[in-house]
């Protein structure tokens, strides 16, 4: 796979995002797959931030640590980001008279870097344009370096200023100037892109948060309540931006407890309602999770992970919320934890989450993370016919409502523990959604027999849910496979990696790399994390020479759940817990190290036992 990367760095608020977004959209419209990744501190203005675009003519969903082009909007970028350039990389900067320190001069010569000073102020003065247009100038110059058609960028910028003629003309002149600029020392410089694939032109450029928001609306969510907390806030903002079109009820609550309770009340009444939060915000929601378990109220919570504890790193990423989602809150009850991995299933899993919640009358926690929430994906338009709205054992027909007894609501003998549910306002016998232990109609009942029966009813759902959840997704060398296909082929797996969430896409890109061609690498990706299915994993483990866990947390939390559920102890772990996602080249080298050591061991110990075996 051929890929190039371009990184724009500068102070937050300097226009990094607007340059990144325009180039990303332009490249996508020209037929490239773009993956955008943002890094920024938790403040509004100032502070060092970046927007990186990784570009290919094949599907790409990862970021490299090394870049082909660095665009530095201030001198801090020249100080901080020079080490990130690849061989023959390009440094584009706007700082007049910048003198590189000795170690950077050495780097420039060793890597054969090309440094371009773009005299943005001179050009602005000449055009009589304000400083804000420097971004247009720079964008146009980068566009010309990428060898792309000037009309694409003109149409993109033009769309923004269509109604402001004077501004439009000035913007177009800036584009012409920027596009035609040539560095007097370096001459014309171009960055070679692979030939485009026009299929990408009709794709969407979408963040995980936008994908999730669209998925929620698609799933029939009619009320959203939330309290701002990064990285869940972009979902709240996106839903709010759409409110006049969707006609949804959107409530910015006074705290996470309120948001969770409003959503729970709305679900109890019978609509579909959603809330999202992060870390300690979810701690505040966890009492409501316990409540919903007791009253068997279907609910969906989005938990957008960031590093903790406490406020932690608000604008960075982590996968440290898995055990929190699976274990928090009082009492024993059935819940479902699922994790989105990219912009496709951020959309697809929303209707699924609501269906599961309503089918089992449980809470579903949908994990995402800062990386997915804010990364920019090139996404095929969504299939709008695939999702079904399944409301489980909800009774709505008048005749059936008339036949109901109060004791049907929490009937402990209901099949699979899932009893009939009907909504307030229905002409039927009434019941109490009772937070105390209760009998079949919701009256408080603390007797020994009832306590056991009701607890068993609520936990019986766990078995049904576990049996029905889809298997983890297996891919081999970047291709999808059914677990059974792999079994039947009888092949040995040289390296079996296990991961979940945003790790998955990076691993997929790594598996497709030229460096790993020829290796029998399998990747088992968990979307449904609790209840945890382990039968496929156990079978695969027996066929694998080496197993490695890949997670963005310190403890290897999925590994802990796996060990708890089936005894398989995965001692080899690729873990990352510095707030950054896995980068493509970094993960590739970790995987290559393991492949290399596997072959060494083979030479030394032919017939080596399989790395993992369930106890």
């Amino acid at each position: 796979m051929s890929r190039i990367s371009l990184k724009i760095v500068g102070a937050s608020g300097q226009g990094i995002n607007s340059i990144g977004a325009i180039i990303a959209k332009g490249l996508k419209r020209s037929g490239y797959c773009v993956f955008g990744y943002r890094e920024y501190p938790s403040l509004i203005k100032g502070g060092h931030a970046s927007y990186q675009l990784d570009v290919s003519n094949e599907r790409i969903c990862s970021t490299e640590t090394k870049v082909n082009v660095l665009v530095a909007l201030n001198h801090h970028g020249l100080e901080l980001n020079m080490d990130e350039l690849k061989q023959a990389g390009i440094v584009l900067h706007v700082t007049p008279g910048w003198q590189f320190p000795e170690h950077h001069r050495k780097l420039i010569s060793e890597l054969n870097l090309r440094v371009i000073y773009f005299p943005v102020d001179d050009i602005l003065n000449r055009l009589g344009a304000r400083a804000i247009l420097s971004n247009v100038l720079l964008t146009a110059f980068v566009w010309s370096m990428l060898g792309q058609d000037i009309d694409v960028i003109k149409s993109l910028v033009g769309a923004t200023f269509a109604k402001k003629k004077a501004l439009l003309e000035l913007n177009m002149r800036c584009i012409d100037e920027g596009y035609s600029f040539a560095d007097p020392e370096q001459g014309a410089i171009s960055v070679a892109l692979p030939p485009p694939d026009k299929g990408f032109a009709s794709h969407l450029l979408i963040t995980g948060s936008q994908a999730m928001g669209l998925g929620a609306v698609h799933a029939g969510v009619r009320l959203y309540a939330g309290y701002p907390m990064t990285p869940s806030s972009p979902l709240l903002s996106f839903i709010a931006e759409l409110e006049n079109k969707t006609h949804m009820v959107v409530k910015q609550a006074e705290d996470e407890i309120t948001a969770a309770q409003i959503v729970s009340g709305a679900m109890y009444m019978g609509t579909r309602a959603l809330t999202a939060t992060s870390g300690v915000g979810f701690d505040l929601m966890s009492e409501t999770l316990s409540l919903n378990a007791m009253i068997e109220n279907p609910t969906v919570f989005v938990l957008a992970q960031r590093p903790g504890p406490a406020t932690g790193l608000p604008t960075w990423t982590a996968q440290s919320g898995l055990l929190q989602a699976a274990n928090c809150s009082a009492g024993e009850f059935t819940r479902c934890v699922i994790a989105v991995s990219n912009s496709q299933d951020a959309f697809d899993l929303m209707p699924i989450a609501f269906n599961l919640a309503e089918q089992y009358q449980i809470s579903v926690i949908v994990l995402t993370d800062k990386q997915i929430a804010e990364a920019l994906y090139t996404q095929h338009p969504y299939d709008l016919e695939r999702a079904e709205i399944d409301r489980g054992r909800l009774v709505v027909e008048p005749e059936k409502l008339k036949a109901l007894k109060s004791s049907d609501r929490f009937n402990p003998h209901a099949k699979g523990g899932v009893s009939l549910r009907w909504l307030p306002g229905s002409d039927a016998a009434t019941y109490c959604a009772q937070g105390d232990e209760h009998n079949s109609m919701g009256a408080v009942d603390e007797s020994s027999l009832n306590t056991r029966l009701q607890l068993e009813k609520r936990l019986l759902k766990f078995e049904g849910l576990k049996a029905r959840l889809p298997a983890p997704h297996l891919s081999i060398g970047g291709r999808s496979a059914k677990t059974t296909d792999w079994m039947d082929a009888g092949d040995e797996i040289e390296l079996l990696a296990i991961g979940w969430g945003s790790t998955g896409e990076v691993f997929q890109d790594v598996m497709r790399s030229d460096e790993l061609r020829g290796w029998k690498i399998a990747y088992l990706h968990y979307t449904y994390l609790w209840p945890l299915r382990t039968q496929e994993l156990r079978r695969l483990a027996k066929r694998s020479k080496r197993i490695v866990l890949v997670e963005q947390n310190y403890q290897g939390q999925l590994g802990m759940l796996i060990r708890m559920e089936c005894g398989l102890d995965i001692s080899d772990k690729i873990l990352k817990y510095d707030g950054r996602p896995f980068f493509y080249d970094e993960l590739l080298s970790s995987v290559m190290e393991r492949c290399a050591s596997t072959s060494e061991n083979e030479e030394k110990f032919p017939g080596l036992e399989h790395a993992g075996s369930p106890s």
């Binding site: 009709s202 794709h203 969407l204 669209l214 609306v217 698609h218 799933a219 029939g220 009619r222 009320l223 309540a225 409110e243 006049n244 079109k245 969707t246 949804m248 009820v249 959107v250 409530k251 609550a253 006074e254 705290d255 407890i257 309120t258 309770q261 409003i262 959503v263 729970s264 009340g265 709305a266 109890y268 009444m269 019978g270 609509t271 579909r272 309602a273 409540l291 009253i295 338009p381 969504y382 709008l384 079904e388 409301r391 909504l423 307030p424 306002g425 229905s426 002409d427 039927a428 016998a429 009434t430 109490c432 959604a433 009772q434 937070g435 105390d436 109609m441 919701g442 009256a443 408080v444």
Partner: protein
């Protein structure tokens, strides 16, 4: 309130429950419970047409002593749950009940934002001036210095001026009842349920087991129906004075009401002109229109 016309008016017996009452002898909850049933019946509401939400406390132990679609939740949280329920289905009247412990301690933020938001619900404060169900601890409405369970020397904090707080939030409906006067409570509750916004109804009630200062007799001697005495509920200044000055006599009745302020739901621009409820709108939506700008 938006209630479908019924051909058959409800009978009081429709609200009978099989569950036995377990409140203490002389508990004010018996009176409030009775008045709630009368009010619902007199408003022509069948149990299946109403949603009754209970906080945790002695009031919440009434959740299974009445019919209707009920909810009994977590301590302090009843207001946001009830508000969410109401916003999802504006056709169902939603009444929330909570004690002074839950409402002015754990859930005080919810009360503040509930009044401020003017959610279209009725909130009934069961004020027995202590945490009854956890065996008589001081609440923030217990008089300072009053010895209680866990505070044998009396609590050091001063008493929270609950009505001053409520009036500072620009309420649209404030009423006060007394658990010994069922007719008065019924009148108040009917008006509250019919009110367009957040109806704050305080019910002063006896707690014979733990409250030995504001007893049934104490309240009986001091309460009076201010409306019978000619109080005009549109008079904000007089309402606030009546609500807060309770040393000698305690004014009850509908103390304050204004109907000219739209409730929370009716201020939502995206919901203007819609006849359907969020509950009725659950279906699969075509979202392709929303992604056009992303191509």
């Amino acid at each position: 309130m938006n209630i479908a016309l019924q051909t058959r008016p409800p009978a009081l017996s429709e609200y009978y429950s099989e569950t036995k009452c377990i409140w203490c002898d002389g508990c004010g909850n018996y009176g409030i419970w009775t008045a709630v049933k009368y009010a619902l019946v007199e408003l022509n509401l069948h149990p299946w047409q109403v949603c009754l939400c209970y906080d945790v406390g002695c009031n919440g132990n009434g959740s299974d002593k009445i019919e209707g679609y009920r909810f009994h939740g977590l301590h302090g949280r009843v207001i946001p749950f009830a508000s969410g329920a109401k916003l999802a289905n504006m056709k169902v009247p939603v009444i929330a009940f909570g004690g002074d412990g839950a409402t002015f301690s754990e859930g005080i933020g919810h009360l503040i934002h509930g009044v401020r938001s003017n959610y279209p619900i009725t909130f009934v404060l069961h004020n027995n001036t202590n945490f009854g169900l956890t065996t008589g601890q001081a609440s923030s409405l217990t008089p300072q210095g009053q010895p209680m369970n866990t505070s044998p020397n009396g609590i050091p904090e001063h008493t929270l001026a609950s009505m001053d707080l409520v009036f500072s939030l620009n309420p649209t409906f404030v009423a006060r009842g007394f658990s010994g006067d069922i007719k008065l409570m019924t009148r108040i509750l009917k008006a509250a349920i019919q009110h367009r916004g957040f109806a704050f109804v305080e019910m002063l009630q006896a707690c014979p087991t733990y409250n030995h200062f504001a007893t049934h007799e104490y309240l009986l001697d001091r309460y009076f129906d201010a409306n019978a005495g000619g109080h005009d509920p549109s008079d904000l200044q007089q309402a606030r004075a009546l609500a807060t000055q309770v040393q000698d006599r305690i004014a009850c009745g509908i103390l304050y009401q204004r109907e000219d302020i739209p409730d929370f739901y009716n201020r939502l621009i995206p919901r203007q002109g819609l006849q359907t409820t969020c509950v009725e709108e659950v279906r699969r939506y075509d979202v392709s229109e929303y992604w056009k700008e992303l191509v």
